[in-house]
Amino acid sequence: MNNAPSSVVSASKLGLTFETGDGPVHALSNVDLTVNKGDFVSFIGPSGCGKTTFLRVIADLEKATSGEITVNGMTPEEARKSRSYGYVFQAPALYPWRTIEKNIALPLEIMGYSSVDRKARIERTLDLVNLSGFGKKYPWQLSGGMQQRASIARALAFDADLLLMDEPFGALDEIVRDHLNEQLLKLWARTEKTICFVTHSIPEAVYLSTKIVVMSPRPGRVTDVIESTLPRERPLEIRETPEFLEIAHRVREGLRAGHSYEE
């Protein structure tokens, strides 16, 4: 059933138009993209370029109005119903009436994991995001960075190979964000998941990704796809190297090109 076994997400001529009172808004147009298994793909672009919309189409939270898209070889709806991805939102979206443990248990309860299995998975994912010992706390007792880590743990708790992250660190300060980026890379190396990551920070995109998708607005489309030449092992200092700056420069050029015709 899957003719390209290594591709996790594959979109061709994908378009999405919202009908609004002021006429149609083209959120996505003619997007062609393949995400391979084990990739860390960042989507970067100014606001309104459709990067979040594209992520939501993969997650079946929005429906494409034209073109084709498959997720794990299935339609997005089938992929959602077979629980093939974990989604991390811009805000932690933890339920305040549940402890951190119980929040991580939420998808496991819904998906019918046994209570023994749930316990083991909660412990493992809390350890994965360095929150061991905080399981009994309520979300509002933790800092913003810890809350977002808990929400990543929640997305990792069940066996989805695809992790969709929509500006997960956008609301956090630079220092916490650096720290979480480093942890995220380690986590990606340990879990071998495929990650789609929306951001509007160039250093963040270059530091994290194996592939950077540069997008431009109105209509949302892909202007450049940059394969990173950085090694998979990346200390924070890599951001000072000429290679890193070279890629960052290309991303910036791509963003500028996307903007130029507008003005």
Binding site: A59, D60, L61, R80, K81, S82, R83, Y85, G86, Y87, F89, Q90, A91, A93, Y95, P96, W97, L106, P107, E109, I110, M111, Y138, W140
Partner: protein, 375 residues
């Protein structure tokens, strides 16, 4: 000047004492058993003395204790002196009453600024301050009604109401059983539960949501006075007709609040559930109902008072010869206002307990809500 500002109540109490001294005696000349000289001197010394002490820089707990004892002992002597002299109290009597009230005010003001270190002390103060407040309402009421001889039928003194309450426990208990344990509790449980169930149905079925809710708003505006006699026609004189009134009154607040509460969960939280391929009932139980709890408890609290009003008023329109509303309407006709007040006191007590239990349930269930979680 700063001395006076330290305790303006004390300064006012001294002025009142002087004014009372100028207009002695405390009871009119024809009073059958006027105050003894010793008692009068004692009252004056206590009030003036405590007022003077309130200007000093004594430790606050000690000062509060002195004020507490002096104010209440003095007012107890004053109240005891009314016995046999009803309606004969003079201006001097009321000036002294006001002076002791000011001292009690000072006492509460001092207590309010105390910050006890132990939890038990804190709880004690939290109970003591409103208790002094409440007791003084009764003291002033008692002194005004008996001292000035206000007719019993207009306002009976609290002591008479208390005596009536203590003397009619079997009747009051039977009334409570009839009105509270049958009509109110049954109506409350059925009204709230059915409002809740219909809210979930309305959430699930669009035509109910769009058709029933506007009608619901109209029905909730129906005057209870109009509905109650019709319910008596339909369900008979006994408690069932009162329970029906309570059901009508409690149903719609619960319906409207639950519908609003079910819409209270955020878009991101709902997307999260969708990403888990969660079905309708899972999303309802794990997200939307917990998020709706503050709204549901709001309705439960509103309904706890509405249910009591509904059941008592409904009994005015026909009832067997027992029940709180029945008692109020018949005893007022027989001029037994003390019994009416006794029923009011019982209703107020039960209403407070009812509300308190619901509020405790709310604190336990919605501890996570920003309004409850504190610091």
């Amino acid at each position: 000047m700063t001395l006076i500002l330290r305790s303006w109540q004390g300064a006012a109490a001294v002025v009142l004492c002087l004014a009372a001294l100028a207009s002695l005696p405390l009871m009119a000349a024809d009073a059958p058993s006027p105050f003894g000289t010793g008692t009068v001197v004692l009252v004056f010394l206590m009030i003036a003395g405590a007022a003077a002490i309130s200007f000093t820089k004594l430790s606050q707990p000690l000062l509060a204790t002195i004020l507490f004892v002096a104010a209440h002992l003095a007012v107890w002597l004053l109240l005891a002196g009314i016995a046999g002299n009803e309606g004969k109290a003079t201006l001097a009597f009321f000036l002294m009453l006001a002076a002791s009230w000011l001292l009690a005010w000072r006492c509460v003001a001092v207590l309010s600024h105390l910050r006890p270190k132990s939890g038990a002390g804190d709880t004690f103060l939290r109970l003591l301050i409103p208790a002094i407040f409440g007791v003084w309402i009764l003291i002033l009421w008692e002194a005004a009604t008996r001292g000035a001889g206000i007719p019993f039928i207009i306002l009976p003194p609290p002591s008479a109401i208390g005596a009536r309450l203590a003397g009619s426990v079997p009747i009051l208990w039977a009334d409570v059983q009839q009105t509270i344990f049958k009509a109110v509790l049954f109506g409350y449980v059925v009204g709230c539960a059915s409002g809740f169930v219909v809210a979930i149905l309305a959430d699930r079925i669009a035509f109910l949501r769009r058709g029933l809710l506007p009608i619901g708003n109209m029905v909730s505006a129906l005057p209870i006075i109009g509905v109650a006699p019709i319910m008596v026609m339909w369900f008979g004189f006994d408690w069932q007709s009162k329970a029906a009134v309570v059901i009508i009154m409690t149903f719609f607040p619960m319906l409207v609040n639950t519908v609003a509460g079910l819409a209270a969960s955020g878009a991101m939280e709902r997307d999260l559930m969708r990403s888990y391929a969660s079905d309708y009932w899972q999303t309802l139980v794990k997200l939307r109902l917990p998020a709706a709890m503050p709204f549901i408890f709001n309705a439960l609290k509103i309904n706890s008072t509405l249910a009591l009003i509904g059941a008592i008023v409904a009994e005015f329109f026909g009832t067997p010869i027992v029940g709180m509303g029945f008692r109020i309407s018949t005893e007022i006709g027989r001029m037994n206002v003390d019994m009416v007040w006794a029923e009011i006191a019982v209703a107020a007590l039960i209403g407070s307990v009812f509300y308190g239990v619901v509020a405790l349930g709310e604190r336990a269930t919605t501890f996570w809500h920003p309004s409850n979680r504190g610091g």
